[in-house]
Amino acid sequence: MFFILQHLLSLILFVPAVGALIVLRLPQDDENLLRWAAFILSLFPLGFALLLWARFDPNQPGFQFEEVAPWFTVINAGYHLGVDGISVPMVLLTTLLTPLAILFSFSIKEKVKAYMVLFLLLEAGMLGVFMALDLILFFLFWEVGLIPMYFLINIWGSANRQYASFKFFIYTMAGSVGLLLAIQTIGIALGSFDMVNAINNWPAFSDFIYGISPQTVRAIAFWAFTIAFAIKVPIWPFHTWLPDAHTEAPTAGSMILAGVLLKLGAYGFLRLVLPLYPAEAQTFAIVLGVLALMAIVMGALASFGQNDFKRLVAYSSVNHMGFVVLGIAVAAYVRGSGDPLNGIIAANGAVLQMFNHGLSAAGMFLLVGVIYDRTHTRDLNEFGGLFPLAPVYGGLLIFTSMASLGLPGLNGFVSEFMVVRGAFAVPAFTLITALSMIGLLMTGAYILKGIQKVLHGPVNPKWVGHSLEISTREIISIAPLLALMLIIGIWPSWLVGVINAAVTRLMG
């Protein structure tokens, strides 16, 4: 037990990677063995994450469960892991969604082995980002997560997968080049890539770098970080890769993409941009806020305009992640000022919204996948009146949609309310917040449009006689998500307590 606690983060990180190797050694044709092996192996990180949750002390300042080991000594980059109250919920979310996505993927028939291996590697990459405390290590995992996702879309995706996967990869890669160059600049200036050291020393760094004043370098590096993370979130106008990638990805890929990968960008803002560039973030917070507003409104409008069910859900991610960014922008704006309360509320809302969107987006994509598996179409006009044909499915879809819409009593409401509550009280953001309500209104519209087109109206005779009902395995895959949506909606404080302590410290 002592060993486990000492190396808890490494275990969470490497068990999926080792699991991938194990699956790789299993026989190719025994597909059921491969599926179950991957599923069971992915439960281990979840178990460790729950242990982490239990042992994590929200009130202790700084990072916990830290591990330090020499790694790339020549350039002074180390293996440094640690978690705080912002990363622990994300670790939990990742380790929870991965087994569910794998369970849902039991219906994958082609190249099962490669699929499962990539999925486990993907999990390792994402977890690494949430736990890394070294900039190079952070970047390593940031990029490593790209590769499995590229192949998941490219090999198991639908018709337009090649274009979508290429766009996804190049878009993210282009963003990360700037990030890498900015990280290098920090490393050169400070002589180390350690994140804790950088957080302490970089904001006040006062020497000239490359003959350019530290303020200018920081401003440029700030934008390099911001654009890289903005692409990942994605923030309008960097979002165009997302609808393509989501639409073409296999269902479980979309679940992880929306559920976790988008969070990497938002996490990057909280973990790096705010602490490393407090002054720049404050200066440009309004810009960020306006972009978030655009994401909220345009995302909702675009979503409403879709006739492809999956694209509709994909654009809804742009809309929902906009609230995360709005919360972050508010936090950046009031950080360090005399009265950070509103910022703390907004940042709490942002982190909670990250978690919530992870649940509801994964659930929505799962349900889209279920209906697509049976009808082989995602065209909303092809559906209609399916409720009587698939009553359980209909119930689940309505429940999940309501969580996504932000119905009070379910999780989405809590976090969006917190963001809006925090943002509205800050004078500079009042107008932005007010305008973002248009987006909230449209959220209702597109959610209802989705439900109405699929479940209600006259029954499309085409589907009569088809068995459209959701299977038990699929219900099991979504049940934990539904339970969490309800629990967080009713009693959010178990989660907010952990987040709040970390966010309060972040806000100084």
């Binding site: 790694w71 790339f72 020549v74 190079i136 490219n154 090999i155 190049i170 890498l180 050169i188």
Partner: protein, 514 residues
Amino acid sequence: MNFPFLTIITFTPLAAGLLILLFPAERKDEVRVTALAAAVIATALSLFVYFTYNSAAGGYQFIEKYDWVPQFGISYHVGVDGMSLPLVLLTSVVMLTGVLISWGLDDRPREFFAFLFILATGVFGVFVALDLFHLFFFYEIAVFPMYLLIAIWGWAKTREYAAMKLTLYLFIGSVVSLVGALAMYYTSGLNTFDMLRLAEANFSPEFQRLWFPFVFFGFAILGGIFPFHNWSPDGHVAAPTAVSMFHAGVLMKLGAFAALRVGIMLLPEGARFHMPWIVLLTLVNVVYGSFIAMVQKDLKYMIGFSSVSHMGLVAMAFTTLNREGYVGAGLQMFSHGVMTALFFACVGMIYDRAHTRMMPELGGISKKMPWVAVAFIIGGFTSMGMPGLSGFVAELPIFLGVWKAKAVDVSGYPQWLSWLANMAQQPWYFPAIALISAIAIVVTAAYVLRAVQKVFFGEISPEHDHHVGDVTVLDKTALSILVGLMILIGLYPTIMAPLIETGVMPILKLLKVA
């Protein structure tokens, strides 16, 4: 250490090559087994030397020195340091994997392996040389068999042209550097070719500035530096698979290494003076090379140009004159060697079975050759500098080095170049170069993904579906060795980086920047 490890490593291939020639031509299996045995011996010894080298002590180790032509101060003088040791290991690994994947070669394997191994001896000889004459001697041994290997076993369409072009380019290069070397020999007045002594000869700055370009570019031609890179893609493409592996994997390193050993280490003042403008050439290598690779339709040409781009990073690292840059150069030489050997091995395997390398004609190969697909993809990610693989570990320090680099000594530039001297002294000069070369990372990602997409995924043509089969166990072994090295170094750079650092420190002392 009195046991002559380095001599044995150097001459094992030659001995095996001569032995192979004694076999009757039709006994192909004996030839192959002998070749494999020699490669295994060389690899085992290289590994032993690699892991017994004392990093704490640093410097040249495993030294052997015998008089050769004492009248002219020529000696047989070998030794390895942190810079050359990884390259010795690289050579033996490429040799081993080259033999493995050439197992099925049926056209005169006896002569093929004999020439290949003579070439390998030449390469080893250069990497361990501590005597200038010795270095040139083996350098020529390495270049000459290449002509025959390409002209006889090469791709029928271009082999004569490519072999001739390559050989002429490289001979011209070596003649130019030989002139520089002789100038050093006579000017030093020490009557010795011993590089350790020449390094202390205190050549005047004027002398060094005059002769550095001769020596550096003479060798850097083989390293593929712009605008003298043009022989290399043609040569790569025309060569048979194992030779391409050697060629891009090892021979290009030979050029870069000799440019470092002879050019930079013996004429450090010259390096300080000239590097600020040479970096512009390397920038062209890196960026332009990647764009040219992007427009290729022939898979092998694409890889050939990607080598130009990646070797440009090595040369760019040399221009930084700092620790990070040089450590990165050492890592990149090893990493690129492994990666590009892997690429050419994969392309060879595909070509052998599909009889085409044109990307538009290929597709869906991953169904038929899953191992090749996985290996090529991992190699591709290495080449785009994906973290967790050796390419990242190598390119990251290079970029750090370029960011940090400063033009140390440009005061003596002629009047008409004063604008360049002024520009190079600006603090933003090298950072701007780092920024521009970062474009290559994205372009590389694009062309690698495009190639992976076209070749391995999508629809397989009915003709290929019919007759393309999977690769052999030996091929898989070779691919696994190469892929394993890329992952190992990518995840655990400490296995190589500190060693290289011990080799870099003395260089920095010579350059007076440490």
